[in-house]
């Protein structure tokens, strides 16, 4: 009888790219539910719009690029991109904004660079940056948390608002939308108010919870928990979030110790905005991150540093997208200079060191 041939090894473990993506999606669920609970149906509607756009664009690009549609469409990577982007957008972002962001992410940031595995920039963050630069006003349509004293929209009203831009008669636009706590803090600190003053403020005060903003602390806490689960399952490398959060903690703590009145405390930094989503789900995108151990530490720490700089002195309330994209650029360089010492080689043989220099 004739046997089939194959290249060694002749066995492998079960986990596949699809399963990695599925587990990442699974890990997004708790934080997403918290977001819906605290900020309403807008989050959910955004995810649906983004996912449909992503799948459509993915299929379109695969056809145009003459690639097999089914295996790539079902690998889950487009949905992950869509969810990450949707979770980063304001809850009442108009539908076309979500569509533009997602389409840019999939068509430009992903497929024009060669599709899955070949994109140098995180597609979700590239899409996010396009919309935040192009449509700054729409990108501020955040809603206040669902607590007493603030307006709430039901599903139908939210749906109508996202698709038509028409607010229900009973509310004015100003009552529906509100800056995020992170943005509020930044603006008010800029107006020479102290942290304490802001927390006592009659309008903004109730927005702040025990760690950061009401709702935000829950969302971030849940993303942290499921991120730890992902790291434990080794679906992401723990070094990247550890680098991001460690650096952000170190810097915010140092500055808060120096001047607690005018610098945001570390607890607030670590539990507000998209930080946990960014640290565990966005920065860890392996395609665009560094691949070596040391490189991943540096990559994470670089993101943490940039987030702190942008949040503290930059023009945007949250700087995750910019921080991630900037470090994406550095990833190949980090990889090259953090190459591990291979078995049987000397440390000076790794790039960045030259034996000749040592000998002289």
């Amino acid at each position: 009888m004739l046997f089939k041939t194959a290249s060694s090894p002749h066995q492998n473990q079960a986990i596949t790219v699809d399963q990695v993506m599925q587990k990442v999606l699974l890990a997004l669920i708790p934080g997403t539910i918290a977001a819906i609970v605290f900020f309403g149906w807008g989050v959910f509607i955004n995810i649906i719009i983004a996912s449909l756009t992503a799948l459509t664009c993915e299929a379109l690009m695969l056809v145009l690029r003459n690639r097999p549609v089914k295996p790539y469409l079902t690998d889950g990577s487009a949905i992950v991109t869509a969810c990450l982007l949707a979770l980063a957008l304001p809850q009442l972002a108009p539908w076309w904004l979500t569509v533009i962001g997602t389409a840019f992410a999939i068509i430009f940031a992903k497929h024009l660079y060669g599709g899955l595995g070949f994109n140098p920039f995180n597609p979700a963050m590239a899409g996010y940056v396009v919309v935040i630069i192009s449509f700054p006003r729409e990108m501020t349509q955040w809603v206040p948390p669902l607590i007493e004293g603030y307006t709430h929209l039901n599903f139908i009203e939210t749906f109508k608002l996202i698709f038509t831009g028409i607010a229900p008669d009973r509310f004015s636009w100003d009552a529906i939308t509100m800056a995020t706590p992170l943005d509020t803090l930044k603006v008010q600190l800029g107006l020479e108010l102290s942290i304490n003053d802001i927390h006592q403020h009659k309008t903004y005060g109730p927005l702040f919870g025990s760690l950061s903003g009401v709702g935000w602390e829950w969302i971030n806490g849940l993303f942290l928990a499921s991120g730890i689960w992902l790291a434990y399952k080794r679906l992401i490398d723990w070094r990247i979030p550890a680098g991001v959060l460690g650096m952000l903690f170190f810097l915010s703590n140092s500055f808060a110790l120096y001047d607690y009145a005018s610098f945001t405390p570390p607890s607030f930094h670590l539990f507000s905005g998209g930080i946990m989503l960014g640290a565990f789900f966005i920065a860890t995108d392996p395609v665009t991150a560094s691949t070596t151990r040391k490189g991943r530490w540096l990559y994470g720490m670089g993101i943490g540093l940039l987030i702190f700089i942008i949040r503290t002195w930059g023009g945007y309330p949250d700087g995750i997208a910019f921080a991630v994209l900037l470090m994406n650029m550095a990833a190949p360089l980090l990889d090259y200079y953090t190459m591990p010492r291979a078995y049987g080689h000397q440390w000076y043989e790794i790039p960045g060191y030259h034996k000749e220099d040592q000998d002289e």
């Binding site: 046997f3 089939k4 290249s7 595995g117 392996p286 070596t292 990889d335 049987g344």
Partner: protein, 549 residues
């Protein structure tokens, strides 16, 4: 003998694999039947094949050499049973290429009659060179799979002192149990072979390294050590972590040192030998028997009765399979070696060779039949498990883009092809295949470069030679001209004449001068008669006349 497991180091990465070993160790090692014919490839080892000693029609006895080694890194092959050579021909051999090679085909006579054997009575009295020669002529090669001539490995050369001699009984690949069974059943032979090797290497003590998942083998060897009152050999249990049985990894685990890239274990004072090879050395020295059989594990979910068979070299694989009850319905792949590093064979009509430790029959549910290769997502799992601390995803990237300079910057040639990276790859990329491809391409380029270098050197040499000849010619011409010019200055009157005429005149002058010097004058001119005198004068005048004319 205490275990020093606390002193062990570890290598980077590695995989905890499920062993699948129990299926083939339920029964003891059985003797494989003598087949109707054995097919013995002349080249079964690393190095040169030997010179053929037999011809078609010869009757051969068991253990009779069929070839003799022609160079230092070479090993002979022997008739594994008695019979008649029916043909010496190209036959398919178990090799990844699937190609054929020269084989001696022996029709067996069933008598299994040995050639006269010459055991060594007291090996301690022989020096290392003699023992190495016996081992060399017994055709012993590393039985762990690589089949490197053992005599060469037992000669580290005068520049190396061997401090650590490791006997490899790790057997880290799943499914394979031939070393395990050998250690359990023939521990004495192994210990005896180890003593001979230590004597040859002039080393005081040896370490037998066995993965901790083989307690029976560890026990058997310890027992044998105790029984023989051996004090210079110790058994060390090492953690079961693939590929801890790889030479470089094992050295790291035992000594904490790393074999330098492009170097040999002897460079750091270490030698690693497989335990099966030790049993073969024992047979060669104490019984004079060459390497004509080995233990082969026949296993896998696609074969009915997995077991270990003591097999004559050259036995067709199909015979072993039928002795193991044949294939199951779902038999799908036939692998020589283990599931991690073995290679697939297209047919079982191939002979067992010295390096064949295992025949693995995989069933259709073993393999992921629908292996869907996705793009690399740079997850870095491969780098985490790589026992050589390489960056497999970078190697893959550069190998697939044929960037052969860069791929060497990332130390492609330190890759041992263990398959850990491909095992964990979520994109199911056959990474090792890419590395093999890149290595082969680089070797080809290197060969081409050497060829073109050679041609260039020859061309350059020829050019220089021609140039030199031309210069020499010109130099001669120049000198001649100079000489003439000089002469012209010295005697201008001769120089005015036609140079040919001048040369003739000069020659005549020289002749005349010579004549005068030699005193060439007419002889017998005294006491002549008048008539005679007259005749002479006449003749002289005629001569004078003809000269004038």
């Amino acid at each position: 003998m205490t275990e020093h497991s606390n002193q062990l180091s570890n290598f980077h990465g590695g995989l905890k694999l499920s062993g699948h070993k129990t299926m083939s160790i339920t029964s003891p090692i059985s003797q494989a039947k003598i087949p109707a014919k054995v097919i013995i490839p002349l080249h079964q080892h690393i190095g040169d094949s030997g010179e053929l000693l037999v011809k078609t029609g010869d009757k051969v006895l068991k253990g009779q050499p069929l070839t003799q080694p022609t160079s230092y890194v070479s090993a002979p092959v022997h008739a594994s049973t008695s019979g008649t050579i029916t043909e010496i021909t190209e036959h398919k051999i178990p090799h990844p290429s699937g190609l054929s090679a020269a084989c001696v085909v022996i029709e067996t006579d069933g008598k299994d009659e040995w050639i006269e054997l010459t055991p060594v009575k007291n090996y301690q009295q022989l020096d290392a060179t003699d023992l190495r020669n016996i081992i060399r002529h017994a055709g012993i090669v590393g039985l762990g799979g690589a089949a490197f001539p053992t005599a060469v490995k037992l000669n580290p050369g005068p520049t190396h002192t061997i401090e650590t001699v490791i006997f490899n009984g790790a057997e880290c690949e799943p499914y394979i149990t031939c070393d395990d069974m050998l250690m359990r059943e023939r521990a004495d032979e192994i210990i005896s072979g180890i003593q001979i090797s230590l004597h040859v290497l002039n080393s005081d003590n040896g370490i037998i390294a066995i993965e901790s998942n083989k307690p029976e083998a560890i026990g058997a060897l310890k027992q044998a050590i105790k029984k023989n009152n051996t004090t210079n050999i110790k058994v060390i249990s090492i953690p079961a972590l693939y590929p801890t049985g790889g030479e470089k990894q094992l050295i790291k685990v035992i000594t904490g040192k790393e074999v330098p890239s492009n170097g040999l274990p002897a460079d750091i004072g270490a030698v690693v030998q497989n335990v099966g090879t030790m049993a073969a050395i024992h047979q060669a020295i104490h019984f004079g028997k060459p390497l004509i059989s080995r233990i082969v594990t026949i296993t896998g979910k696609g074969v009915k009765k997995p077991q270990n068979l003591d097999t004559l070299i050259g036995t067709p694989m199909s015979e072993l399979i039928s002795q193991c009850g044949g294939y199951k319905e779902n038999a799908d792949h036939l692998v020589m070696g283990g599931p991690m590093m073995g290679f697939t064979l297209t047919t079982d009509q191939l002979p067992i060779i010295k390096g064949c430790n295992c025949l693995l029959v995989e069933s259709s549910d073993d393999q992921q039949t629908q292996r869907r290769v996705m793009p690399c997502i740079r997850c870095g799992e491969c780098a985490r498990v790589c026992p050589a601390t390489l960056l497999p995803q970078q190697l893959y990237w550069y190998a697939s883009s044929k960037n052969f300079d860069k791929v060497q910057d990332y130390h492609l040639f330190d890759c041992i092809e263990c398959g850990c990276c491909a095992y964990v790859c979520p994109s199911q990329i056959p990474l090792v295949q890419y590395y093999r491809f890149a290595k082969t391409e680089i070797w080809n380029l290197e060969r081409d470069r050497q060829k073109s270098d050679h041609a260039r050197i020859r061309h350059d040499f020829r050019q220089t030679r021609l140039e030199k000849e031309k210069q020499e010619r010109e130099e001669r011409l120049r000198k001649k001209k100079e000489m003439l010019a000089k002469k012209k200055q010295e005697n201008p009157e001769t120089a005015d004449k036609d140079p040919k005429q001048a040369a003739i005149e000069a020659a005549l002058a020289r002749v005349k001068e010579k004549k005068e010097q030699a005193g060439i004058n007419p002889k017998n001119v005294e006491n002549l008669t008048e008539a005679q005198q007259k005749l002479i004068e006449e003749a002289d005048s005629r001569r004078q006349q003809s000269k004038v004319e």
